[in-house]
Amino acid sequence: SQQGEEDPQALSIQEGENATMNCSYKTSINNLQWYRQNSGRGLVHLILIRSNEREKHSGRLRVTLDTSKKSSSLLITASRAADTASYFCAPTYNTDKLIFGTGTRLQVFP
C-alpha cells in the first residue's frame, strides 16, 4: 500500500502542551504533505516537505522527514483548543493522487 500510516490513532492533550504525530510509509516518495480536517469538513493543507528536505516550519508547526526510516512527524507546539481536528499525512509519488491514511484524531482540552 502507498498510503501513509499515522500514529497514534488518537491523542488527547491539554492546551499549552505540544502534540506530536507520526507518519510512516513504504516506498520512496517525491514529497509528503500534511493536512488538517475539522469535524466533517474539507481538508486544509498544512505543510509540504520535499524528499530532499529534513525539516520545515510553519508558525507553531514543525515537520520532519527521515527518508531512511520512511517516516515523518508533525509537531504542534503550544496547542490550542482550535487545533482539535484530524490530521492526515499524504506521501506523494509519481502519481496524480493524494493517498491518505486514517489519520490522527487530536483533542485539545481547554
Binding site: Q33, G42, L43, H45, T95, D96, K97, L98, F100, G103
Partner: protein
C-alpha cells in the same frame, strides 16, 4: 479570492437513484480531483482531471464518472446508488496536476437511504 466551492452541501438520495455533484476550483487552477471519505476513514481518490482530460482514476466502479468543463469546473456523477455510497465527497483543486498543494472544498455530504 473564492476558495473551492462545492454544491450541494447535503443531499439525501434513495438506493438506485443517480446523483450529480458539482465543484468550482480556485480561479487559475486547472486541476480538479474528487475524493470519497466514509466515516472514520481518510479520503479515497476517485478521479483527477487536468485541462479537461482524465489524468487519474481510483479503484471505484464504473457507476462513478466525472467530467471537467472548459471553465475547469467539474461534475461527479454516481449512478445506481448503493447504501455504501453514503459518504462525504470532497473536491480539490491544484494549479498543477502532480505533487502540488491541494485546496479542498467543504464537501458534499451524500446520504443514501
Amino acid at each position: 479570492d473564492a476558495g473551492v466551492t462545492q454544491s450541494p452541501t447535503h443531499l439525501i438520495k434513495t438506493r438506485g437513484q443517480q446523483v450529480t455533484l458539482r465543484c468550482s476550483p480556485i480561479s487559475g487552477h486547472k486541476s480538479v480531483s474528487w475524493y470519497q471519505q466514509v466515516l472514520g476513514q481518510g479520503p479515497q481518490f476517485i478521479f483527477q482531471y487536468y485541462e479537461k482530460e482524465e489524468r487519474g482514476r481510483g479503484n471505484f466502479p464504473d457507476r462513478f464518472s466525472a467530467r471537467q468543463f472548459p471553465n475547469y469546473s467539474s461534475e461527479l456523477n454516481v449512478n445506481a446508488l448503493l447504501l455504501g455510497d453514503s459518504a462525504l465527497y470532497l473536491c480539490a483543486s491544484e494549479q498543477g496536476y502532480m505533487n502540488t498543494e491541494a485546496f479542498f472544498g467543504q464537501g458534499t455530504r451524500l446520504t443514501v437511504v
